[in-house]
Symmetry: none
Subunit: 237 residues, 2 copies
DNA sequence: CATCTTTTATCGAATATGGAGGAACATATG
DNA sequence: CATATGTTCCTCCATATTCGATAAAAGATG
């Protein structure tokens, strides 16, 4: 889900600055130090966006931009111009850059622009339309992932985000036993297989809300030594 | 039964943006990158409406417009002007454009204009528009997108443009959780490079007006870590 | 008695909000 | 017609507040 950004500049300090800030903001960053390398990486790495300095060794930014466009690479480009030169700006945009920015700039500014461009392009997956309307049903539970709502016997339950995501994940894998590690990596994004009982706590919270009256849990079963699973309640319903 | 729209612009990002949003709204989209291609496609594809940039390679928008009219092509045209240039606007309209719009614009704005034009053109045909013509109702809220009016318990509310647009978008996706980015990309101009948190401010202003007396918001709910959603107020009414 | 559940307290992060600055627009004035 | 003046609205920022995540500890269960 994280976007890949290619930074092309010959000034190491600029590259470092951008790389650091972009990574902080959750982007994946690839760098290049001259125009030729920039071209190659633009093609090979297929980044979601490119930050391109105008003045570059071997091949300047304008040329890179032009050649990429000729090759029908429609990757969004944020052009960096060293001075406030109207002429260059206009030229850059005509060559197909999506935005420009004059040095010096603040990290905040760069991030804002990048987000604006990505937003504008909207390359974010418009394909998910079928998944949108779905309703997950388990017993008397009704889960609407889009609406962030859960109903139990038609009554709305108030769940915290973690509880909600945990439940959705369990529901999407109804009947299957899921280990704590699986749940951790799916809901928490923890990569390690550490020993943590956080899952237990949230399972407990969930049960509090969806197992209203019962003594033994009907929905979320504990599989001792393994993990948990959500299943269709036995008996009548 | 979907309408066909021809988008003529030389800026790839604008074309992409419009195409995406129009397709989302159920239009069929054809694109062209310069004036000549635009002319050809206007004739060959017989679109129901044309979005035409003023500044174009090979043949500018004004010229395209003029030639089409001379050929008795009465296709509705929505003109895009890069800068706020009164002269161009007037000229464009005199040449037979049906409406104009200055860049930058917000996606919602374009859609509204397009629908307005189409409605105006074929006011004879009773359309089955589910979207624009109806009034949106949520609880005691009544929203008339066309009239730019909102009523709460029958009383007219004074909303600023941003507040209004935001509310309409929320209302059209009633119940759905919308992230700040989604709201930004729908309601704000495509080149807005500011802070995502601006959404919070306008939400706050909206709540001030539509959540009159209540402690907890009834209409606009905050989904922590995600965004906001507008929903039917709980309880009865 | 080991495992699972519940409770409690604390910390940190996300959100709400008031106010300042400034741009855009409208109206008044020369 | 161009320049003032005023107003509205948008955006940003700083501060206050709310709320959830988590660790630790106490309690329950088989």
């Amino acid at each position: 889900m994280s976007k890949k950004v290619l930074v092309v500049d010959d000034e190491p300090s600029i590259v470092t600055l951008l790389q650091y800030n972009l990574e902080q903001a959750g982007f994946e960053v690839v760098t290049a130090n001259d125009g030729e390398e920039g071209m190659q990486k633009a093609i090979r790495e297929q980044p979601d966006l490119m930050i391109l300095d105008l003045m570059l060794p071997k091949m300047d930014g304008m040329e890179v931009c032009k050649q990429l466009r000729q090759q029908k690479m429609m990757i969004p480009i944020l052009m960096l111009t060293a001075k406030d030169d109207e002429f260059d700006k206009v030229l850059g945009l005509e060559l197909g850059a999506d935005d420009y920015m004059t040095k010096p700039f603040s990290p905040r500014e760069v991030l804002a622009r990048i987000k604006a461009i990505l937003r504008r392009i909207q390359s974010s997956q418009p394909a998910h339309e079928e998944e949108e309307r779905q309703t997950l049903r388990i017993g008397n539970l009704e889960i609407l992932p889009d609406h962030y709502e859960v109903y139990f016997n038609g009554e709305r339950l108030e769940l915290t985000p973690k509880e909600f995501e945990l439940l959705v994940y369990l529901a999407k894998h109804k009947g299957r036993v899921l280990t704590r590690d699986q749940l951790l990596s799916a809901v928490w994004n923890y990569d390690f297989a550490g020993d943590t009982r956080i899952v237990d706590v949230h399972i407990s919270h969930l049960r509090e809300k969806i197992e209203q009256n019962t003594k033994k849990p009907l929905y979320i079963k504990t599989i001792r030594g393994l993990g948990y699973k959500l299943e269709e309640p036995k008996g009548d319903d």
